[in-house]
Amino acid sequence: MKGVIFNLAEEVIVASYGEHTWDALLDAAGLEGSYTSLGNYPDGDLFRLVDVASSFLGAPVDDVVRSLGEGALPLLASRYPDFFVGHASTRSFVMTLNEVIHSEVRKLYPGAQVPEFDFDDSDPTCLLVTYRSARKLCALAEGFIVGAASHFGEQATLDQPRCMHRGDDHCIIRCAFTPTGS
């Protein structure tokens, strides 16, 4: 896992709960915590952090991961605004994940292992996003999608008709987007 993900986690935690909480999480997880964006770190480090945060907050692991994605998206939007301009909706933005965003991620972070997405946009009212990754972080993808919807002034309603955590070999995230306030 690239250090940038840990940096985003740190920024999200510090912004919401303060620096001492990040310290406490690292201590409880027994981690060094010196993450550099371009460095490579064990996936287990992130899972340990999330587990510890889950017990601190008394919230399910998936909810923690989802909030991490949702909270990290504005940080990504301010760091990489080029990926967001030119899109009027969450739907069109999300559909550039493989070809634009993750292909750029590979250039910026050599060796990054990014998940594979497939899109079914045949239904105009909802977008089906297929997620495949050995890390099974579909909740992180959900969080990013929810965060992206806020960025575009939309409300995302998500559910997963298929999920690797329920024994399927891939996840399908069904997304419906509606303008906020309507």
């Binding site: 620096e19 909480t21 010196s34 550099t36 460095g39 070809e99």
Partner: protein, 341 residues
């Protein structure tokens, strides 16, 4: 979670330690990337030197031909400056026929397999054509569509011309320029297939000169060669344009008459050729008389193999020869045959 408290000295120490560790790691990564970049730049410079010095033509361009890169050899061919390739379209280099093949054959293969090898003809910007052996390599976008094509082309014009010349030599007689036995047999094969489809007859004339050895002995080999060239010219002038005339070696010639109605046509041709050869001529002031003995065989439904047909014409030729100079004989299947005229 818990309410924020001012961090104690130990916590600050730990945070500082983390920041230092992260900084050291970031520096190590930066060093590593700098080293890789340096090596990549070195390698790029070496590659550029190779591309600049090679006589092969190298281009990287969009599928429609707009170049991103042309090496020096290609710029020189096109007559453009290395830094001024904006107006060039490399697909325009192809002759119309090659361009059609690029679109219909090469591009689909390139899209499917990512690689195409073959030959194209290029039109030189200042006129003339060159034959190139070309390799095309597809570069794809993440979605799989071909975005760019790299092309390496080698000028094989001279090689091709030499091959054509060798191929011609392999099928023709050096002295007279006529077809040789190999080409004759090939044409005979084709003509038989056509004749059996078209329902018409096929004739073979075997020609052996009478009096040639005497000329060779009397006037020498150079004069003999001149006689053969003259005879070849006369035969060619009096045969039908679509028929094949071959020299089998020595003073032996053969004519393949496709699309004849029957033996009568073959006989008529033989008579005409015999008369043409028999016209006296001069070599170095010396009068020369030469005649052609002609054996005729016409393939019918009962004729066996092509070898049988040739054998029949050969047999008929010997029968003509035994009847005197400048005679023809039509093979009748018995070995006896009709009396020569």
């Amino acid at each position: 979670m818990d309410t924020p408290l001012p961090p104690d000295a130990a916590t600050l120490e730990r945070r500082l330690g983390r920041e230092r560790a992260a900084r050291r790691e970031a520096e190590a990564i930066a060093e590593q990337i700098t080293r890789e970049l340096y090596e990549a730049v070195q390698q790029l410079a070496a590659s550029k030197a190779v591309l600049d010095e090679t006589t092969d033509f190298v281009a990287i361009a969009g599928v429609e031909g707009r170049p991103m890169y042309l090496n020096r050899a290609l710029c020189e061919l096109l007559g453009v400056e290395v830094g001024d390739i904006g107006q060039v379209n490399v697909v325009d280099l192809l002759t119309p026929q090659s361009r059609a093949r690029y679109l219909d054959e090469a591009l689909p293969v390139l899209r499917e397999k990512g690689l195409w090898r073959g030959e194209f003809a290029w039109a030189r910007p200042r006129g003339g054509e060159l034959a190139v052996s070309q390799v095309l390599i597809a570069h794809r976008r993440p979605d799989g569509a071909v975005e760019r094509v790299s092309s390496i082309a080698r000028d094989v014009t001279e090689q091709r011309a030499l091959q054509d010349q060798l191929a011609h030599q392999a099928l023709h007689d050096d002295l007279t320029g006529l077809a040789n036995r190999r080409l004759f047999m090939d044409r005979l094969d084709l003509a038989q297939a056509r004749a059996s489809r078209g329902g018409h007859a096929l004739g073979v004339l075997f020609i052996d000169l009478d009096g040639f050895k005497a000329i060779n002995d009397r006037l020498g080999h150079d004069a003999g060669d001149e006689v053969l060239i003259t005879v070849a010219g006369r035969l060619r002038a009096h045969m039908r344009a679509a028929d094949t005339l071959a020299r089998f070696g020595g003073d032996e010639f053969a004519v393949l008459c496709g699309d004849i109605a029957g033996p009568g046509d073959a006989v008529e041709i033989a008579e005409r050729l015999a008369r043409a050869v028999a016209e006296p001529f001069e070599i170095d002031g010396a009068a020369v008389n030469i005649w052609a003995s002609i054996g005729i065989a016409v393939a019918t439904e009962t004729t066996g193999s092509l070898a049988d047909l040739l054998q029949s014409a050969d047999t008929a030729m010997y029968q003509a020869k035994s009847a005197g100079k400048g005679q023809w004989h039509l093979f009748d299947g018995t070995g006896g045959g009709e009396p020569p005229t």
